[in-house]
């Protein structure tokens, strides 16, 4: 110790806002804008639509996962967003896509604030139970509040949405709307989660420590819950717009399991995982013609397998393999490289 030269601090390396995975995910979502202009195949159009809606909805799960919270509340906020759009367009003849998108985001996001104050005190399993119960409540309310929601008939006969006064009514146009909503959702989610990544990572790994260092954890939890709700609302808009109907069955409580599956199987560590999970699982459901009957079983099996043997999900496994091929060690959680400095204490 005595004649060591004192070391000074290493220079600061400012990590960029977006990681490689963020860019890839945004690029893929961006590329889907091509499909409505090049394809008229109804099969391709509807598959793309379904995948994008699934991925957008699963972003709600992804955002709450930043805080190590498992949210079953996605269908609730989708329902709030979807029914808001249906009511605005049917009762108030508001059909401008920008106005509707803003409403579909803000309405659930605002609802999430008082709800969050109520349930964000809960951690781990308590949060899971309560969000599960919440989706049940919203489902029942949709049926019971007949005068507003149309009860078990739902709200049928929505007018087509308009962009700059132009109607978006046929299949490619509906997909275009979905692409736009998905793109906005992915941008919002990646900017939000990356901007506050230190805060989220700290709350996820050790919230007691984070608070003892002066972090107001509840603020970030409330923001995350609210943004997750808003993004789910956009997914609800896209879904209602595709079906031209707002119906309780579109927001069934058990559908939350699907959104969780997309995020977990795809890889919960990055936004790319959510997109890839939705892409693979929605395609698989379609490819094996498993609709309804077998797909829950397949999803269940995949969840178990991923949880038991491949925590990183598809994206985690693939990027792990790529790093190994390149002869590097995978990055630490926040994107820094583990340089493998040998730091055993030499005293």
């Amino acid at each position: 110790m005595n004649n060591r030269v004192p070391k000074s601090l290493p220079a600061e390396i400012r990590p960029s806002l977006f990681s490689g995975h963020d860019w890839i995910a945004l690029a893929i979502v961006c590329l889907t804008f091509v499909i409505p202009f090049t394809s008229t195949n109804p099969q391709v159009l509807s598959q793309t639509n379904l995948i994008l809606i699934a991925a957008t909805a699963a972003l709600g799960v992804y955002i709450m996962q930043r805080l190590d919270l498992m949210s079953f509340a996605v269908p609730s906020f989708m329902a709030i967003g979807g029914y808001t759009v249906a009511l605005l367009s049917m009762k108030l003849q508001l059909t401008d896509v920008f106005v509707l998108a803003a409403a579909a985001f803000l309405m659930p996001a605002l609802c999430a604030i008082p709800l969050g104050a109520l349930i964000l005190r809960l951690k781990g399993v308590y949060f899971v139970l309560v969000t599960f119960v919440l989706t049940e409540i919203v489902q029942l309310l949709l049926f019971e509040a007949g005068p507003i929601t149309g009860g078990s008939n739902g709200l049928v006969g929505m007018p087509a949405v308009k962009i700059f006064g132009m109607e978006l009514w046929d299949n490619p146009h509906v997909l275009l709307t979905t692409c736009g909503l998905a793109f906005v959702s992915f941008i919002v989610t990646s900017v939000f989660t990356r901007w506050f990544r230190s805060e989220f990572a700290a709350i996820e790994t050790n919230d007691v420590l984070a608070e003892s260092l002066g972090l107001a954890a509840w603020k970030y939890k409330a923001m995350a819950f609210s943004v997750a709700a808003g993004v789910s609302g956009l997914a609800g808009f896209a879904l209602v717009n595709m079906l031209l109907t707002a119906h309780p069955s579109s927001f069934a409580p058990m559908s939350s399991v699907n959104y969780i599956t997309y995020t977990i199987v795809g890889g919960k560590a990055s936004i790319l995982g959510t997109l890839i999970g939705a892409l693979l699982l929605v395609s698989a459901t379609d490819y094996f013609a498993l609709s309804g009957e077998m797909s829950p079983g397949l999803f269940g099996l995949l969840i178990i397998v991923v949880t038991m043997v491949a925590r990183g999900g598809v994206v985690g496994v693939v990027s792990g393999l790529l790093y190994r091929l390149a002869g590097q060690s995978p990055p630490l959680k926040n994107g820094e490289q583990d340089l493998g400095v040998n730091g055993e204490k030499g005293q």
Binding site: S8, E12, L213, G214, G343, K345
Partner: protein, 253 residues
């Protein structure tokens, strides 16, 4: 109670009591850590030392009494508020952000307490001596226990507190590493002007560092004064002998 105890930055416990259900774990304890001062807290296991730190740092509420930091009452406030007011704690077991590098851990501490990087420059002699600069980009989770512990302590100091609550900083450290605690405490007081409440089992450290200690037993304050005086009082020795005797062999050293 006296006027100087309410001077800026002093930590003052005024007849604090805490019970869980019907079980009273803390009885009307009062003491003061002056601004920039150092007070040791000793006592057998289960004496209520960690409970006390949890109360001061806002994790637990009080049943009666009050805690003042400077002129402000802090009991009942939330942890992060208290931390922002300058009262920061360390944890008995390692408390770091697992899976993140040493650098990220320290930068998080700065970010959450709204300090800038210049604090790190001031801390760099300490970081260097503890061997944290050598491990700057390393995943903190896989470092040896001693390093993790010093990282946690340094993070608490990086928030530039004016009062530090140290919960058994030497616990789990090897004898050779314990000198780091002395360095840390001295550095915090001299460079940052920090007041320190030091809960510790290692009586050597207490004797070396603390001009004055309080002894807790069964949630009561049973003695206070300079460590050598206090440790020779018969009822203090009895409290240790009567208490659980696994970890307290230090007292006989």
């Amino acid at each position: 109670m006296t006027t100087h105890s309410l001077s800026a930055g002093a930590l003052h416990a005024d007849r604090i009591a805490k019970s869980f259900g019907g079980l009273k774990v803390f009885h009307d304890v009062s003491f003061t850590v002056p601004a920039g001062g150092l007070l040791g807290v000793i006592g057998p296991n289960g004496a209520g030392k960690t409970t006390m730190i949890n109360i001061f740092s806002g994790r637990l509420g009080l049943t009666s009494g009050q805690v003042m930091l400077g002129g402000t009452r802090i009991d009942g406030r939330s942890t992060f508020e208290i931390a922002m007011m300058g009262l920061v704690r360390s944890f008995q077991h390692t408390a770091i952000f697992n899976g993140h590098s040493v650098e990220t851990n320290l930068l998080s501490a700065l970010r959450f307490s709204r300090r800038d990087r210049s604090v790190l420059e001031r801390l760099s002699p300490l970081l260097d001596q503890f061997g944290l600069i050598d491990n700057w980009q390393r995943n903190a989770e896989v470092m040896p226990y001693g390093l993790q512990k010093m990282l946690g302590l340094t993070m608490a100091l990086a928030t530039q507190p004016n009062m530090l609550l140290l919960d058994e900083p030497a616990a789990g450290l090897e004898k050779s590493e314990r000198a780091n605690i002395d360095t840390y405490v001295k550095f915090a007081r001299e460079e940052f002007g920090c007041g320190i409440l030091l809960v510790e089992h290692d009586m050597e450290i207490i004797k070396r560092l603390c001009p004055s200690v309080i002894v807790l037993d069964g949630g009561r304050l049973i003695a206070e004064g300079p460590p050598t005086d206090v440790l020779s009082q018969p009822h203090v020795i009895n409290a240790y002998l009567g208490g659980s005797d696994e970890e307290d062999s230090d007292v006989t050293h």
